[in-house]
Symmetry: none
Subunit: 348 residues, 2 copies
């Protein structure tokens, strides 16, 4: 019972305790845990009974001696609060599970200092390899990863110029493609509700992609009204309302992700603004909410599951075979749905 | 700054802290604790006041325990794929962060065997304490937690009969209250799209709550058409479509959570079924999607953030002071919104 946590804490049972109770050598216990097929069934049963009975959990020190790996990988994502990284993580975890590897996840709240602490912590806790999001982090984080030779893969971005192993897509190209669709629909009064760009290369690249499209249509940077905010439904709604109440409301509001777009759309309903009749709204990510709002969101479909799966197989190879790993560019594709329509006709 | 991981004195007060506060040498503090008769009454009073004030635990076991701390807590949630546990986890993490504690999260895919493995793994990785969801898990998991004396708190449920420390709410009572509202609107052909009940006490209790309401209105169990499925948008949609295409379609579809309800609502749109004109739909959880769908979901507001925060402070106390912890019941409240309306008039 939980409440009976009374007297002296029992010391953590050791490999030696298990060996004593099972009446076998510590080497045999170790073999049982790491290469069970090399041990007879009866010995294995005896050892596992002792393991269970004592509540022995092979600690990373002992296991490091035995196998130099913990079969635990770490992932650090900027947030778990909305579903942005959820499907990718799920696919990553499923693939790891196929290989008997457990995943531990930490979230950094988009703060590079917090992320650095979490990298150190996960490595201290014995993580064999790390899954990270984006290229922007403290130089100390990278130095630490080098020094400790921790295999790591960066996801959600792909940039040829970056030397690090990444499994992702070109955020800039994808946002440019979406913005071109918006422009082709006749929209010239544009706005972008962007994520905070300073510590987030995805937000930066999406912003640049929108600017690329604007330039390609011979417009100026001023033709794109940019509001920067942190990702949340409420912030998307607030930014949208500010834009619509300004002197020159846009006819199309592109959003840095689906969470902001869902917030904008929901606020449009509340304000009695018709989407896409009065204003078009677009997202980015194609998470589940994109399809359950009305009208459904035009957005960029991010290859969530493919990234997670590829990142897992790449990381496993990097750990097992000391492979250097290879970056993979995956495709992000447009999803044209009801929230994007032609620019409203000018009224005389 | 996150980088200055300052050790809060209140977390693990030392002999030196006591000596400083009492204004005596550490040797005197030690003498006070071990041979009080050798110390003057006034000195003894001063030292014991400091001991009490600081929450110093003067036994070697506690000291050993404190020395072994990693300042890392673990959380195991059934899923990270949708936002059900996200806001609670976020609040949990924020509170831990205030105390310099890092959070590592694992997700069990609602599988008790996977959860057991993750409990062992997190403890092996040095987790000081664990945050778990619901009471249903393998007996081996509980035995392991007992044996290793790992402080743990169970969230998302509250049940007086359960001896374990939980921070949650009464799922049964909350679902009953919601179902009573549905019945009061005149609905008599009811359906419930429930989560899988076998390894999920929240799903079980919500089902029971719906049954309680049905019984209270003098209806039979058969008046509630129950479909059990795993939580996903697609599954909610499929179950809804099956119900609506059956010989006796319901006029109200209650869902085990908002994810299922959002799927049902989205499918209703696609099928041309008016909500709530033709059929009412309700959810459970009040996660963000409940407010961005059209019409907005009538649902049960779960105290996500309060649970996370309370669980954190409880767990910290359990670890620091060897407190036994105390269960807390929080309130879950109804949110009546557009997706619930009166039962349609019978056509002649």
């Amino acid at each position: 019972m939980a409440k009976t946590r009374t007297t002296q804490p029992s010391l953590s049972p050791t490999l030696a305790d298990v060996s004593k109770q099972a009446g076998v050598s510590t080497a045999t216990v170790s073999r049982c845990l790491n290469s069970p097929s090399q041990v007879s069934a009866s010995t294995r049963d005896r050892v596992m009974a002792a393991v269970k009975d004592l509540g022995y959990a092979p600690n990373f020190g002992a296991q490091a001696l035995a196998a130099k790996r913990t079969n635990t990988f770490g992932a650090i994502v900027p947030t778990m609060e909305n579903a942005i990284f959820a499907r990718g993580l799920q696919a990553f975890q499923e693939e790891l599970g196929q290989h008997g590897i457990t995943l531990l996840v930490a979230s950094s709240s988009y703060d590079p200092d917090v992320e650095e602490e979490q990298i150190r912590n996960l490595v201290a806790r014995g993580a064999d390899a790390l899954f990270l999001i984006g290229h922007t982090r403290t130089s100390e984080s990278y130095e630490f990863l080098e020094k400790r030779q921790i295999p790591h893969v960066v996801a959600w971005v792909y940039d040829e110029a970056e030397p690090r192993v990444s499994v992702g897509f070109d955020n800039r190209k994808a946002m440019k493609a979406l913005a071109l669709e918006v422009l082709k629909q006749g929209h010239r009064k544009l706005a972008l509700i962007a994520g905070k760009r300073d510590c987030n290369d995805r937000a930066r690249q999406r912003y640049e992609g929108a600017m690329d499209a604007v330039a390609e249509f011979g417009l100026n940077a001023q033709d794109l009204n940019v509001i920067e905010t942190t990702y949340s439904i409420a912030n998307g709604g607030d930014a949208f309302e500010r834009l619509m109440r300004s002197g020159t409301p846009p006819t199309a509001v592109m959003c840095g992700n689906d969470v902001l777009a869902a917030g904008a759309l929901s606020r449009a309903h509340r304000m009695g603004v018709d989407v896409p009749g009065d204003v078009s709204i677009t997202g980015f990510d194609d998470i589940e909410i994109a399809e359950i709002v009305t009208p459904r969101l035009t957005t960029v479909h991010v290859p969530h599951r493919a990234m997670g799966k590829h990142a897992a197989t790449t990381l496993i190879a990097m750990r097992n075979d000391r492979s250097l790993g290879e970056s993979v560019e995956l495709e992000a594709t447009l999803r044209l749905r009801g929230s994007l329509g032609p620019a409203p006709q000018k009224t005389a």
